[in-house]
Symmetry: C2
Subunit: 432 residues, 2 copies
């Protein structure tokens, strides 16, 4: 048996402790399967005195991440610290020192992926990040390796379990957003500060990583459209259902015309019969369409100590191979098929537009007129039973239109005398 | 740019031609992503004169597979010949000559995996086989690499698209097996000789490969229970539906007690709300439960020129890395957690038992008595409306019982005077 491969673990929170726990529990099996052994030599934490559910020898803990870098027997560092600036500095130092890096930090990669992978390529040090997207679902390896022979036509993902849990509960019970969020927090599915989960940015970070990997260039987070689920109402879910749709926080990534791609993360109506509509609760799923492989779907737990650990253990196995062997790929490669994001305003989609209107003749004519003036067509109109006294809901399904034109038309409609409240405008994805 | 990596392609049927076509179409992209180039140097076929839909330079064709072995510039051979003995001899020669092997031949690996991978390990030559199981779904890489840190609790798969298409049509339309098969043949979803698809053995070969990989030892095909869908009737599908189940040709692979595993491939009732029940038509899906990752599911096209090519291209990319680098794993590794199959007769399951009985008092008492004498309990009984004159159907859902005992009890029941025709006995999987 060869010497064990030394690991430095930066961060011992939920996922970090899970990696240590599962590496201990299944270490022998991993060794038999791989022919390599691992030894966690140092664990960097912020507070040495914090009480921990998973125990590790006291002498391997440190508060100084430099101790992981300076130990020549540490060949692989696992970054599970959270935050952005501190892990960025640590990861850059680790790469510069020739350590193989594993990270589960989606915000770090979405914001600084370009810089990190440029450095990795220069130093010929691989960076692995399976745990950064969709927890236990091995979507990074699938996109990077299994589907390497494919041009990606589209990737659609339910990438945030908290949002999906809340929308699932709203759909199942008819409850509104606020009580569903409260329930998710009570069950531990949403954090005390759920902002990133709810506002779409946790899913957007994952979408940026997936899109960058699939399309071979790093997206600027400022260029994609991101909206959260706070504004989705129980009424929207009910009306969508009457029309044959479910509402999901969906990441939509598509090859567009020329070398542009289209990326958005927002509450989206999807046909109930599409397999993504059956993804309930805290589960994640990603539908990938490649020009060679056709339609595929990958489903599993998108967060949590154990599922995310599983991805880190998979990365460790690959890192173990990389310790001894040169590699073609250091975790990300560019190619020249694509190179920019389509501007949000130009991206074409179908829409759901819910209005609250005065109960008087001629209302629909005015609204249809406003849409027609902008060159926007209506697919169908339903006037559901009113839920609130003195207000009549009117729901329009809108034909393919550029998002910018649709937003402007919606604002114009909001200004009509017959329209009360702010219109609710949601994307509709038909996967065609 | 380094020299291209030489490929020898053995077999130019549907999949072989697809690999050539897609490697040509997406070769530049593959090169940009990988940093490696490929060149198909020889293609071995049985008949040089056969007209082909995909064209390749005439001078690279040969009828002698030895030409692929003897060319020193061919580093990777792709075996897509079909059959067993000829490809076995070819693969063994290729490994002995130090060529990296890619194969999509499920029957070859299910029958001779142990021998092939022993040789591969001795010669330190990797063998890749993503295309052998579930077409475009990268389940081999997921089980072998992504989930390497997991003990596999269970793997459930819909692994034969032809069977799934036929059962889906029978479910959707109420048609019987024979016309559904005829329709599948007409649409090209079933071969002129559909025996292996229909009798369960195509799925069984894939299940043997998956089980062997996940549990670290090569299964003897004679030790697993395999049944086909020929005997499933429209009535069974209707009665199962009334009870809340769908019937699927399901591969069930489970860690059992001690170091034994349980493997069966047969028409199986699964709860309609389980995600595998939503896998329709020619699609395949595999639900994998690992002790770390939890529940996962992978879905896609299980056959066809392009989806299967996608898997071969993924293997080619991995093979390209292996050309230059030593590897820990040559495609299969054993470990000591498991080592045998539970005998079929001892494997415990729930069952669906459909009888055709005489319309007279005391029938249920006699049948319940026969089951009770064998220590087998009844979960529920339904007496659906009779479909045939003078024959009364009686459907029993049976409690957990060893398959051997259940088969004996079923034979005993068949011999009762009140029972007409042969009982239909199917497994029920509740995924608990």
């Amino acid at each position: 048996m060869t010497q064990p491969i030394g690991i430095g673990l930066a961060g011992f929170g939920t996922v970090g402790a899970g990696v240590y726990k599962n590496l201990t529990a299944n270490g022998d099996l991993l060794t038999q399967r791989l022919g390599a052994r691992f030894a966690v030599r140092r664990i960097a934490v912020r507070d040495l005195k914090k009480r921990r559910e998973v125990s590790a020898p006291a002498e391997i803990f440190t508060t100084n991440t430099d101790d992981l870098i300076s130990d020549p027997d540490i060949r692989i560092v696992i970054e599970l610290m959270g935050g952005i600036e501190t892990p960025l500095a640590f990861v850059k130092k680790a790469i510069a020192a020739g350590k193989i890096v594993i990270t589960g930090n989606k915000a770090l990669l979405a914001e600084h992926g370009q810089e990190i992978f440029r450095l990795a390529r220069e130093k010929r040090v691989p960076v692995f990040y399976e745990a950064a997207v969709a927890g236990g679902i091995p979507i990074i390896k699938i996109v990077r390796e299994s589907f390497v022979g494919n041009r990606f036509e589209s990737i659609h993902g339910i990438l945030n379990g908290t949002s999906n849990y809340i929308l699932s509960r709203m759909t199942d019970t008819g409850m509104d957003f606020a009580p569903a969020l409260a329930e998710a927090q009570q069950l531990g599915y949403a954090e005390a500060d759920p902002a990133l989960d709810i506002n779409g940015w946790d899913a957007a970070h994952k979408a940026i990583i997936l899109a960058s990997l699939a399309y071979g260039f790093w997206l600027d987070p400022a260029e994609i459209f991101v909206a959260g689920i706070e504004s989705v109402t129980a009424a929207d879910i009910r009306f969508a259902s009457e029309l044959g749709y479910s509402i999901k926080l969906l990441a939509t990534i598509k090859a567009g015309g020329g070398n542009a791609i289209e990326v958005r993360v927002c509450p989206t109506l999807i046909p109930k019969q599409h397999v993504l509509a059956s993804v309930h609760g805290v589960f994640n799923a990603i539908a990938v369409r490649g020009d060679v492989v056709g339609e595929t779907l990958f489903y599993g737990r998108g967060a949590g100590q154990d599922p995310t650990s599983s991805s880190v253990l998979g990365d460790l196995a690959e890192a173990a191979c990389a310790v001894e062997s040169p590699r073609f790929c250091y975790g990300f490669t560019s190619h020249d098929l694509y190179g920019k994001c389509q501007p949000t305003a130009e991206a074409v989609s179908k829409y759901y537009l819910r209005l609250s209107v005065k109960d008087q003749p001629g209302v629909l004519a005015q609204i249809a007129g406003a849409l027609g003036d902008s060159g926007i067509g209506i697919l169908s109109v339903i006037q559901p039973e009113s839920l609130v006294e003195d207000s009549v809901p009117l729901v329009l399904m809108i034909h393919d239109a550029p998002f910018g034109a649709m937003q402007k038309a919606s604002e114009k409609i909001a200004g009509l005398g017959c329209v009360k409240d702010t219109p609710a405008l949601l994307h509709v994805e038909t996967f065609s």
